[in-house]
């Protein structure tokens, strides 16, 4: 996403709204908030241009805490509200904060359509694999068998992989980062913002109350270097504490190889097929979990196109006036003509 305004310099605290933050102590949302505020301050966008739109959920409280324009919408509809905000005024810098329930359960349709249309916005999916605000029901990203208040005998659903769902929907920018890895989060969000079009960022987020440690096996300090591979555009796919391992694409699989043999990551291939493949991982779960940038391709953004089409019509037909409006069909006179 890009805006056409002149750079301004801000500090993180310029993006603090002063509202009392009401998440549970220890919630991953705090770190994400802080990361986003830092990123906002760094972008050189005048703060009045930011609009943060959300749905309903713990994560959807986000807009209240950022000193920008904000719209706390209704459950699941943030991508639609944001599409309206952006299409009406493409000069705005539109961000969506949403949860795994908000975005992928009730709001699943709006997010895939916003992606398909390539509405220029950044979507932050706070994925804690649980419904936080409504006190702990399983979500569309919860692991099968999960016992929750609504599934005391274990859930029977297969979860979505949000990355694959968004790739399947044609999202032009797809990435993943982690609440506790703030430098990575900031890097990914900056790239998402730099992308012109729909940018989807899944953020693995810990819910201390209802799903504590859901991502420990990927994100805990001790193991994360071995369990994560950062997809860095133009860089080889290497991982491990000593960056001593690499990934190489084979025709129908991915192998673990030495760093030298690793495939160089290209998120800009039109098809997104490699992104899909690496996101699916392998059947035995041996491959590390990818974070970073899965896909980043250029495509027309509907918000700009709408206005371009209007401008083209105006250029061709002239700005429509009330007179044109009324006289576009056959007319006739009653009484003396004027």
């Amino acid at each position: 996403m890009t805006t056409t305004t002149s750079p301004v310099s801000y500090k993180k605290k310029d993006f603090e709204s002063g509202q009392e933050v009401r998440w549970c102590p220890g919630c991953g949302d705090y770190a994400i908030l802080s990361g986003v505020q830092q990123v906002f301050a760094s972008l050189g966008v005048p703060k009045e241009k930011f609009v943060v739109v959300s749905g309903i959920g713990c994560s959807s409280r986000f807009p209240y805490y950022v000193d920008t324009y904000g719209f706390h919408g209704i459950h699941g509809r943030a991508p639609a509200i944001a599409s309206g905000v952006k299409c009406a005024n493409p000069e705005l810098d539109v961000w969506v904060a949403t949860g795994d329930g908000d975005a992928l359960s009730i709001g699943g349709n709006h997010i895939v359509h916003a992606a398909r249309r390539n509405v220029d916005m950044v979507v932050l999916l706070f994925n804690n694999r649980i419904y936080g605000l409504t006190k702990g029901q399983y979500s569309p990203t919860s692991e099968p068998g999960k016992k929750t208040v609504s599934t005391p005998f274990g859930s029977l659903d297969q979860p979505f992989n949000p990355i694959n769902l968004m790739l399947g929907a044609g999202a032009t920018f797809v990435a993943r980062t982690v609440d506790t890895q703030i430098p990575h989060l900031k890097k990914v969000l900056a790239a998402a913002h730099a992308h012109r079009g729909f940018s989807f960022v899944e953020i693995l987020q810990n819910c201390v109350i209802f799903n504590n440690g859901a991502f420990e096996h990927i994100t805990s300090r001790e193991i994360r270097d071995d369990r994560q591979v950062d997809l860095r555009p133009g860089q080889p796919l290497v991982f491990g504490k000593e960056l001593d391992k690499g990934l190489r694409f084979q025709p129908t699989s991915i192998e673990i190889v030495s760093p030298e043999e690793a495939t160089v990551w290209n998120p800009s291939g039109r098809s997104g097929a490699s992104a899909y493949r690496i996101s699916m991982g392998d059947e035995r779960g041996e491959l590390p979990v990818p974070i970073g940038i899965f896909r980043d391709v250029e495509a027309p953004c509907i918000d700009r196109e709408i206005h371009a089409q209007i401008e083209a019509a105006r250029a061709r037909l002239g700005e429509g006036t009330l007179h044109d409006l009324f006289h576009s069909g056959d007319t006739w006179q009653v009484g003396a003509a004027d």
Partner: protein
């Protein structure tokens, strides 16, 4: 039209005529009717039209359910409906005859295309024998039988078109005949054909040939016994007119509101019959700066509109019953965030998918109360196709002035029907420029205008006005999230007071007829025309009956209660099971007589008149 008993060369003058064109969906009946309408409009007749097409896109040829009809009434007087029963029926095939003949006035002119009365055609229409062989037909109606197919093939044989394509022109031939019968020029239709088929010279030639052949056949053959009619121009208020369909008028009203307010227009919508035409119409106004966003569903339709409203646009969402149901939750969000928004519901037959291509007025109570929580919203209704323009303009004006969603009710009958629209003259429309809030000095997003109770409209991009809104209860003035019990009660009351305040600016109600009497016929929406017709006739018969028609359903006009008191009885005709009647009873504790019709069809004047006569004895 009651044709005189003797055939006479001089043209007979008629006050008005109702023609119904009926044929297969593929026979071009809608087009034929529209052309007849436009030609008559230019002659200065008052007009009303009503198309009635099947739910199927192209129902199999010749079937009963595939019959497509178009009724036009043109008149030397001021009229308000497309007429109850046609004076003239054009039946292109047996199915069209079967479906429509019961409506034709006794003695009416019946034009039948005999070319389509083969055994197969008869079978598809479930006729055991050829109805044209029944002598009663000729006794009861003025029957004109002609093989239009054959005549069309003859007329077009030099056009270079194959016979299948050439046959398609038979509707033009029928049209040409009627132009002669009713003394209308061919020029309007000729000009239209020339534009439409500019790139297809053979099609153009064939159509022109058929049109002219029809005219010639009527003039020269004896099929009409030389009887030709005239309908003089109607004494309409002076001005420039055009013909409009209700849905197009709604679209024009919204564009006009955008122009008058100085805001861009944003439509977020999802196609649904019979509302889609508003989307289609607005999509053509690109050079007026209109944004049309065909959303993934109705929820996204209204949510994108809410987003656009937040961004500062004049935001609109259009739909019909099932779609309105889906928008319910988001309408609550618009109420809580106090953003301007126009919601148009083109009502159709329900419940559920119901009768999707038919008309009804059964969404009124839903429009008033169909939202969770205390969620008030002004509700307006349009009363005729042309009135859709004015109603849409008014809805947008209220939304912008009071920072509130406004619901506008029209229906399938209004949306698809057409009538002349007097084009507002320069200066007749007062601009109401909207200025977004820009002053950061002590800005508070929920500090209200003391008069209208509207909150300031501060749009993203405005320096210094950053603020957050949403669906949780808002603290008075600051707009912060607030769970305080007293604040909630106060905000509920404030939202209510704001909406109720809209009524202060209504013009006084105008009763048609005396201001008191034996009976007041109270109506809303598309029943206007049939009620007017009935009331006029009852008054001519000396009854003390008046008419009052409501534009504003919520809040109700402050002078309504007083008017109701001045009548002995109140009759409320509605295309539902008595929804306005329920509202009036609850509001004024006043007994009313409910006349209901739930048939997917508008009231006829006769039906309303019969009830008036029953009540007044």
């Amino acid at each position: 039209m009651t044709p005189p008993q003797t055939a006479d060369r001089p043209k007979e003058r008629l006050e008005e005529v109702v023609i119904r064109f009926a044929g297969d969906s593929g026979d071009g009946m809608q087009l034929t009717g529209t052309q007849f309408t436009n030609t008559s409009a230019v002659l200065g007749n008052d007009l009303a039209t009503f198309p009635d097409f099947p739910a199927e896109i192209r129902a199999p040829a010749g079937t009963l359910f595939g019959v497509s009809g178009f009724q036009v009434r043109f008149s030397a007087r001021d009229i308000h409906t497309p007429g109850d029963a046609p004076d003239v029926l054009v039946a292109m095939n047996p199915a069209a005859l079967k479906v429509n003949l019961p409506d034709l006035k006794p003695g009416g002119l019946l034009i039948v295309n005999t070319g389509n009365f083969g055994p197969k055609d008869l079978e598809k229409a479930h006729y055991d024998s050829n109805p044209l062989d029944d002598p009663r037909l000729e006794q009861e109606y003025r029957l004109v039988k002609l093989d239009l197919n054959e005549a069309t093939l003859q007329a077009t044989k030099d056009s270079g078109l194959g016979s299948k394509d050439a046959l398609r022109c038979k509707n033009l031939l029928a049209l040409g005949m009627l132009y002669w019968v009713f003394s209308r020029p061919l020029s309007t239709t000729e000009a239209w054909l020339e534009k439409k088929f500019a790139g297809k010279p053979e099609v153009l030639a064939a159509n022109l040939a058929a049109l002219r052949a029809g005219h010639t056949i009527a003039e020269n053959s004896e099929i009409f016994q030389g009887r030709q009619y005239e309908v003089a121009p109607a004494p309409l208020p002076r001005g420039t007119y055009r013909n409009v369909k209700g849905n197009d008028a709604t679209a024009m009203g919204l564009v006009a509101a955008a122009k008058l307010s100085g805001l861009p227009l944003f439509l977020g919508s999802y196609p649904i019959t019979p509302a889609s035409d508003i989307l289609h119409a607005l999509a053509r106004y690109k050079n007026f700066g209109v944004i049309t966003f065909q959303a993934e569903d109705e929820i996204a339709g209204i949510c994108t509109a809410i987003g656009a409203s937040y961004s500062g646009a004049l935001a609109v969402t259009t739909t019909s019953g099932p779609g309105l149901a889906l928008k319910t939750e988001a309408m609550g969000l618009a109420v809580m965030t106090e953003l301007p928004l126009v919601i148009v519901d083109v009502q159709r037959g329900g419940p559920s998918t119901g009768l999707p291509t038919k008309t009804e007025q059964a969404d009124l109570l839903m429009a008033l109360w169909g939202r969770h929580g205390e969620c008030p919203m002004p509700v307006l209704a349009a009363s005729s196709p042309a009135d859709c323009f004015w109603a849409a303009l008014e809805a947008a004006r209220i939304a912008l002035k009071y920072m509130t969603p406004v619901l506008l009710l029209t229906d399938g009958y209004l949306g698809n029907g057409a009538e002349p629209f007097r084009i507002p003259e320069d200066g007749e429309l007062t601009p109401f420029p909207v200025r977004h809030w820009t002053d950061p000095e002590d800005f508070q997003p929920y500090r209200r205008d003391p008069e209208t109770l509207a909150r300031p409209w501060a749009v993203p991009g405005t320096p210094g006005l950053q603020h957050r809104i949403g669906g949780l209860e808002k603290a008075d003035i600051t707009g912060h999230v607030c769970y305080d019990p007293d604040n909630h009660e106060k905000m509920v009351a404030l939202r209510e007071a704001k909406v109720m305040g809209v009524a202060r600016e209504y013009a006084p109600l105008e009763v048609f007829g005396e201001a008191s009497g034996d009976l007041l016929v109270l109506g809303w929406g598309s029943t206007f025309g049939s009620v007017r017709g009935a009331v006029v006739r009852a008054r001519q018969a000396g009854k003390k009956v008046s008419q009052l028609h409501l534009r504003h359903l919520w809040p109700l006009p402050p002078d309504l209660g007083g008017i109701l008191e001045r009548f002995e009885r109140i009759l409320i005709p509605e295309m539902n099971r008595g929804q306005l009647a329920r509202l009036i009873r609850g509001e004024y504790l006043r007994e009313v007589v409910s006349l209901t019709k739930v048939k997917g069809r508008p009231f006829t004047t006769a039906e309303t008149l019969a009830k008036i006569e029953e009540l007044l004895g």
